[in-house]
Amino acid sequence: MALSTASNFAKPDDAFRAIVEAHRGLSDEQSADLDAALVLVLANHIGDIAVLHEAIALAKRRMLDASQQQQQQQ
């Protein structure tokens, strides 16, 4: 199974909103704790190490792109 990057939620805004609201009122530290737990719960639900690696690679690529843009601006 490959990582799905198609839009899987019928209402994507509901999903985004649910995550945003979960962080409402939390300090940065608490938010980071919440994210850590959430990542582990979701990773286990996916239960496929290849998909997890792909997801990590995709997420990391975003960070790489961002830092390259920053360098170009400098």
Partner: protein, 537 residues
């Protein structure tokens, strides 16, 4: 209790009186009489090789050091004739419990099923294991054990190695076809061959205390994250024979070793853990550790085994046990090469199989160590999430890593013959033979591992009877289950653990690993598998 002999005398050997032009020649010299060197020497001797075993000390080391010996190690020691003595003295265990704070997160059973001769683990102080091995060496005239013989020089020759050895009577030299270096983590032979030994250094410090007390704790491995008696760190409690308890406490990276080791500083910590002060110290040691291995376990005719070749963190009982697996892996191969029944290339499979096992052990123990001592705030955060999820989810419990205990590797090796038939389970080629209870022809209960020893611990065909026995290559022994005069698989466990149907056969290597398996073996198939497993391809 019989007093165990731990002090041995130096004795001058006639080799030392030889003229420089008549240096003694030996087939195998094993350097280091620790658990690995002693076990290797015994295995070689039982296979008919004469072994010179050198040790630079004249006594067995102090302190418990290694304490957990695995089922696989016990099965090896059974083949060496000393398994029962180890088990009789040792503390048998298979259950581990993991706590977080005051709460038990989960427990695991490393051998939840019946029908194995040996338990998942015994705990036994290393000095007992060494003493029993030395006793066994004393029964084998083929082993020439020389105390206070320190190798100080090593000179590779074309077909041998010239060793210079220092003794209380001065130096002498001898020539060996093969030198096996089992001289521990600080191996001087490793330095003499100029081998690199690099890896990951862990900064965290751990305190080991062996304390003597009578206590009613069960014989289980207890591991705490953030216990009330040692806030923010980890702790381990484990029982040994003689009312000795192993306690392992994680300290911070900047703790002063000299100060932390003082009994007056250790005592309050332990008292907090136990809730009382009624104990005596047997041994206190503070350590840091590294995970590393040699690039090559074979340097010409010098072959490295045990801690000399690889080191892991202590969490997971992978140090001594992996060294013993090295010994059982090397002994039969070296024996065959010395006899000329296998080419020297067979030895290369020792490096292939055991360096992959070392990588696996290093990976597992590094993961455990990183879980216990996170390297960054985010790692600590992820661990905190796992520990809290473990309270209410099964997956969280499985992610908690308080040490993953040693299991034998499954070798991806050129000695194996790939499966040609279809299997739903059983032991794949490269795996160690599963044990199972069977009954002898007269109904006497026994185990498959015992039948393997009875057949001579050589290449052995384990067959599940189906009419006439297959014709075997000359050197292959046979264990037959079912049929006329065969062993009786009364509980059906042999058949289920080997995924066997009538006609199924497993070709076992002399170290009890599976070389090949067949639904219906043919003579051609067996010949080819045997040739491959003996290193002829």
């Amino acid at each position: 209790m019989a007093q165990t002999k731990t002090q041995f005398g130096y004795r001058r050997h006639p080799d030392q009186d030889r003229a420089a032009a008549e240096i003694a020649e030996h087939a195998v010299v094993v350097v280091g009489a620790g658990p690995v060197g002693l076990s290797l020497a015994i295995d070689l001797a039982q296979r008919g090789q004469a072994v010179v075993l050198l040790d630079d000390a004249d006594r067995i080391g102090e302190g418990s050091r290694a304490i957990c010996f695995s089922k696989r190690s016990l099965e090896f020691w059974d083949r060496l004739g000393i398994g029962q003595r180890m088990v009789d003295k040792g503390v048998v265990w298979s259950v581990g419990k993991i706590f977080h704070g005051e709460q038990q997160l989960y427990q695991f059973n490393l051998l939840p099923e019946e029908g194995h001769k040996r338990p998942a683990f015994i705990n036994l102080q290393q000095f007992y294991a060494e003493a029993y091995l030395v006793d066994r060496v004393g029964e084998l005239p083929a082993i020439d054990l020389r105390w206070r013989n320190k190798v100080t020089g090593l000179e590779p020759r074309n077909d041998s190695v010239l060793l210079t050895i220092q003794t209380p009577d001065g130096p002498y030299r001898l020539n060996a076809q093969y030198v096996i270096a089992c001289d521990g983590a600080r191996s001087s032979l490793r330095q003499m061959v100029g081998a690199e030994f690099s890896g990951q250094v862990f900064e965290d410090q751990f305190l080991i205390a062996d304390v003597k007390m009578t206590a009613a704790f069960p014989t289980e491995r207890w591991f705490w994250f953030d216990p009330p008696f040692h806030a923010g760190r980890s702790a381990l409690l484990h029982k040994q024979p003689d009312d000795i308890w192993r306690i392992d406490l994680q300290l911070n990276r900047f703790a002063d070793p000299a100060l932390e080791k003082l009994p007056e500083n250790v005592r309050p910590r332990i008292a907090r853990m136990l809730g009382h002060d009624k104990f005596d110290f047997e041994w206190i040691s503070l350590y840091k550790f590294q995970c590393r291995r040699m690039n090559r376990f074979i340097h010409g005719r010098v072959i490295f085994a045990g801690d000399a070749a690889h080191q892991v963190s202590p969490f997971g009982a992978r140090g001594a046990n992996s060294g013993l697996e090295d010994a059982e892996n090397l002994a039969w191969k070296l024996d065959r090469v010395l006899r000329g029944t296998s080419p020297e290339a067979l030895l290369e499979s020792y490096h292939t199989e055991r360096s992959a096992a070392a990588d696996e052990n290093i990976r597992e123990s590094t993961r455990s160590t990183d879980f216990m001592a996170p390297n960054s705030h985010q790692e600590a955060r992820l661990r905190k999430a796992v520990l809290s999820l473990a309270k209410e989810t099964e997956f969280g419990k499985r992610m908690v890593n308080g040490g993953r205990l040693s299991t034998p590797s499954v070798y991806a090796t050129p000695l194996s013959t790939a499966d040609g038939d279809s299997w739903r389970g059983g032991a794949q080629p490269g795996a160690s033979m599963p044990d199972a209870p069977v009954a002898g022809p007269g109904g006497e209960p026994m185990f498959l591992t015992e039948a393997f020893i009875g057949a001579g611990t050589r290449f052995t065909l384990l067959e599940f009877g189906n009419g006439a026995a297959p014709e075997l290559p000359e050197e292959v022994a046979a264990i037959r289950i079912g049929g006329k005069d065969g062993l009786v698989d009364s509980a059906g466990l042999a058949a289920s653990r080997y995924d066997a149907e009538p006609g199924t056969a497993y070709l076992l290597r002399p170290d009890g690993y599976v070389a090949a398996r067949f639904r219906h073996p043919t003579r051609e198939g067996l010949d080819a598998a045997l040739a491959r497993a003996a290193g002829h391809n």
